[in-house]
Amino acid sequence: MQKTAEGQLSPEVVLAEMTRNGVTHVVWLPDSETNFLYQLMQAEPSLRLVPVSREGLAFSVAAGLAAGGQRPIILIQNTGLMESGDSLRGWAIGLNVPVVMMIGYRGWTRHGVNTDSAATYTERFLHAFGISYYLCESSADAPRISIAFEEAARTRRPVAVLMADEYHGFNR
């Protein structure tokens, strides 16, 4: 196994957060660099992957899974999150679905100067919907994923984790 470079986000650590928090289904649409996470999720027997072809679909699927007693997670990119506004509103917030959304934070830069409007509007979008969120840049931040699960369960609302190592992150 290759080692994750210091300061990067290890896919094994992300997967461990999912299993530790009892995730049963990953409702997802791949983003730029999730290949190795995909391989790990596929190999994890406690997870079932539910691929969608547009991010908005993820919210109604997750709502159905939650209504049926399962614990889904949503894994999509910030671009797709913004496309999903009405589904997030109606199916996730409206039905009090305690789901964690792992959002690939395309375009994010630590210094705040970006050239990608996807990054420009991500946090503004979350603020508009009143969604709590946590930033996850490296493996050291991964415990915030568990915090997000706890908050989602306590408040019965979707909570976001912004995966800010997206451009190179899930690669090992």
Binding site: H25, V27, R48, V50, P51, V52, S53, R54, G56, L57, A58, F59, S60, V61, A62, A63, G64, L65, A66, A67, G68, G69, Q70, P72, D86, S87, R89, G90, W91, G94, L95, N96, P98, A153, R154, T155, R156
Partner: protein, 205 residues
């Protein structure tokens, strides 16, 4: 064309203990169903999501049949759900779709290419192993036992008479008798699922 209330009565005779997401058929189904705890009349949380919601239920409850009465306007907003259903192939998922060829709640304007979309062919092309289309009640009645008696996923397109609403939304009579929260709470109780607790804001459910 079929009448929605009539086709739902036909289905009801074959329901057994299936979970039912009545979708746009909810206004009629509420008067027909004898197992409201297994019904999920969600109204319209966000258009385009009923198929995804029912798919999630089917994946969550493989021991139960899940029957959805989708609508063509809803499905057209989310056709991409069809290959997801086909790939996951839940054997307990029965996907009926009411096709009135219009947006009835907004005054009856036609959906795109309203009279010329073969939804059963679309579903089959996306990978549903079985797909049907009916525009006659007696033919539907003759086929439904076989449709429900075999494993899903299956797609059934039903041409239905439009029930157009031209009354301003605020003046329409509500057919829902329970809030969405109550519907979900009743469902969890019926199926013996754990009820999550809300601790924020002092509201417990």
């Amino acid at each position: 064309m079929l009448r929605t209330d009539e086709l739902l009565r036909v289905f009801h005779a074959h329901r057994d203990d299936a979970i039912v997401v009545p979708g746009r058929g909810g206004r009629h189904w509420g008067k027909i169903s004898t197992q409201p705890g297994r019904d999920l009349p969600m109204g319209d949380p966000a258009m385009g999501g009923h198929a995804g919601f029912a798919l999630g239920l089917a994946l969550a409850r493989p021991q139960n049949k899940v029957v959805l009465f989708d609508s063509e306007g809803d499905l057209l907003m989310s056709l991409g759900i069809l290959p997801t259903v086909a790939e996951l192939a839940p054997a307990n998922f029965y996907h009926f779709m009411l096709d009135n060829e219009c947006y009835a709640t907004t005054g009856g304007q036609p959906v795109p290419n309203a009279k010329n979309v073969a939804y059963d062919a679309v579903a089959r092309g996306c990978g549903y192993p079985r797909a049907f289309a009916f525009d006659d009640l007696s033919e539907f009645e003759a086929a439904i036992a076989d449709i429900l008696g075999r494993p899903g996923p299956v797609f059934v397109a039903l041409k239905v008479v439009p029930e157009v609403e031209n009354v301003p939304i605020g003046q329409r009579s509500r057919w829902q008798t329970r809030t969405r929260d109550k519907v979900l709470a009743d469902f969890r109780e019926e199926l013996g699922l754990n009820q999550p607790q809300r601790t924020e804001g002092g509201t417990s459910r």
